[in-house]
């Protein structure tokens, strides 16, 4: 789009104001996380800290079992990303490139799933997780104990089912040229080889987008850990943060340090994979 000088000036003005509104709260969080306790006690009014206290971060880490929370988040997010990528690409490939009986009906079912919000399924999912047979003190009919509740399974396994992921993968594989399959058929290879040796190696952009989408969703998730777990040993970083706030109500410098610590993986990923973040935002919006 071509523009005049005044337009460009107004544009910069608008951008600067809104960028400040977006970033200033985060900068203040950072500055606050660096302020000393004395400065707070004296009623801190400055934007910048009078003296910088990076040690706040270490103190914040020591005030709760952050090592454990971090480990939980890493295990849960890692497993969910890896597992959902494998399952989504497999199913997406089958729906896009293989003709089989019941394909359209099964895919239609999945499309219905795109419309169902997580908030709606949380009660019955909770009941399913609670009644997994032979786990968490349950008998073989799923009665008596807590099943998968309060375990990694509750946080990982439901995340592996993704109508959205399968849908995206199918869209991606539909765009591939037909010649790919033909070459493989002439070689005499079956669908399994076709998928693992031809389609999967070409799936980089798909894997990056789906991976980022899942990573952000699971790392940032507060809702499901809140409902599916209750023991402190199962807390993820997001839950840990919420509890930490309750235990240390007034110490905002430490609370802000912990908040930033929990956000670091997301910020690093965002800097590294901006393109994929943006692509996953667009695709998640366009197709619900």
């Amino acid at each position: 789009m071509n523009s005049t000088k005044t337009e460009r000036f107004t544009a910069y003005l608008i951008l600067t104001v809104i960028t400040l509104l977006a970033v200033l709260p985060l900068l203040m969080t950072f500055f606050t996380s660096m302020k000393g306790d004395e400065e707070f006690a004296a009623g801190a009014t400055r934007l910048l800290p009078a003296a910088w206290h990076p040690s706040n971060y270490i103190r914040a880490l020591q005030m709760a079992e952050w090592g454990l929370f971090l480990k939980n988040s890493v295990v849960v997010t890692g497993a969910a990303v890896l597992g959902s990528l494998i399952f989504n690409t497999m199913a997406g490939f089958a729906f896009a490139r293989i003709r089989f009986k019941g394909r359209s009906l099964l895919f239609l079912l999945l499309l219905v799933g795109l419309m169902i919000p997580a908030q709606v399924t949380v009660i019955p999912q909770f009941l399913v997780l609670k009644s997994i047979p032979l786990f968490g003190g349950n008998d073989m009919f799923g009665h008596g104990g807590n099943g998968w509740l309060d375990s990694y399974y509750a946080l990982i396994v439901p995340e592996l089912s993704g109508a959205f992921g399968v849908f995206m993968a199918r869209q991606f594989y539909l765009q591939m040229p037909k010649a790919l399959d033909e070459a493989a058929y002439i070689d005499g290879s079956g669908y399994t080889r076709l998928f693992f040796f031809i389609y999967l190696p070409l799936s980089g952009p798909l894997i990056a987008t789906l991976g980022i989408f899942k990573f952000v969703g699971v790392w940032n998730d507060f809702f499901h850990p809140l409902i599916y777990t209750n023991s402190p040993a199962m807390r993820t970083v997001q839950l840990g943060l919420q509890v930490f706030r309750g235990e240390n109500q007034v110490q905002y410098n430490l609370l802000m340090a912990a908040t930033l610590l929990v956000s670091i993986p997301i910020l690093v990923m965002f800097l590294l994979f901006q393109k994929q973040f943006i692509r996953s935002a667009i695709s998640s919006s366009v197709k619900g």
Partner: protein, 290 residues
């Protein structure tokens, strides 16, 4: 390669996804519809009560409040963040230096977890030490307890909702604008149309389908707001900021009225599905434009 094997391969490939989908999405939806017609506390098996839960919902003043608050949150966040997103997207399509940096910084609040966002604003809005009240006092305006007063709690959550939502709207609209052919703008520029005129006469009309998608998706998201409210205000004070999803959670996982909470969930599901279907209908009418 053996033909029989190739025939079952597709089913093996879709099995994990389909199985988990059935177990964790489809069957749960059917189950919640069933539970919504029962009295269920998890201690005893569900007891069929017909439409009793739904009748109760109609007369439940707190649920009514939750619906009103959710509607306010929807009205308060969706149009302002779309408006801001549109202005930003329009501005960013001018050939400006530092476009990528601006885009990233504005989108930043949208990638943080809702917990991190809530913590940030708990501090900013803290009645005694928080920068917002401090800044106001510089101008001689008395500060308030934004999150804990009934008349400002919902408004505060709405402002925070806009803060996190505008970047997303901007990104989606930017994507849409980039799909518009450059040659249209060149032709308009030859005719002497200014940037603003080009935006009104070319960008806006062609962006209509994307605007509709964005409106629908933001609407659905706003109906599901939970984390921010739960952490910032807990729905209080005096239910002044409670929403449909906070009500679902408190009825089910705090009071164990699973049947009643299921009825609320079914209402949420029905509204969401109706809006999505409407989108498909309008989208297919517009699809010739994409």
């Amino acid at each position: 390669m053996n033909k029989g094997w190739n025939r079952i391969v597709p089913y093996l490939l879709i099995f994990p996804s389909m199985f988990l989908f059935l177990l964790f999405v489809l069957i749960p939806v059917l189950r919640i519809i069933y539970l919504s017609f029962t009295d269920y506390t998890m201690l005893q098996p569900p007891v069929w009560t017909g439409s009793a839960n739904y009748t109760k919902l109609l007369h439940d003043p707190i649920f009514g409040k939750a619906v009103r608050n959710t509607a306010c949150y929807w009205l308060g966040t969706v149009l302002p963040s779309m408006g801001l997103g549109l202005v930003l997207a329009a501005v960013l399509t001018l050939r400006l230096k530092g476009l990528a940096a601006f885009r990233a910084l504005i989108y930043l609040p949208g990638v943080l977890s809702s917990v991190a966002v809530a913590m940030t604003w708990l501090w900013l809005l803290d009645p005694l030490q928080g920068p917002v009240n401090r800044m106001l006092s510089l101008f001689g305006v008395a500060g308030r307890n934004w999150l804990q007063s009934p008349d400002t709690s919902l408004g505060s959550v709405i402002v925070i909702g806009i803060w996190t939502g505008m970047g997303f709207a901007m990104i989606v609209l930017l994507g849409g604008i980039q799909g518009i052919s450059e040659s249209l703008y060149e032709a308009a520029a030859l005719d002497g149309a200014s940037g603003v005129r080009q935006f009104i006469h070319i960008t806006l009309p062609l962006l209509q389908p994307i605007l509709l998608f964005l409106f629908i998706i933001s609407t659905i998201r706003s109906f599901q707001v939970f984390d921010l409210v739960y952490i910032l205000t807990g729905g209080g004070p005096a239910n002044s900021s409670t929403t449909v999803v906070t009500q679902i959670v408190s009825a089910s996982f705090q009071d164990y009225r699973m049947g009643y909470a299921s009825a609320m969930s079914v209402v949420l599901l029905a509204v969401t599905m109706a809006i999505t279907l409407l989108q498909y209908k309008m989208g297919s009418r517009n699809s010739s434009m994409e």
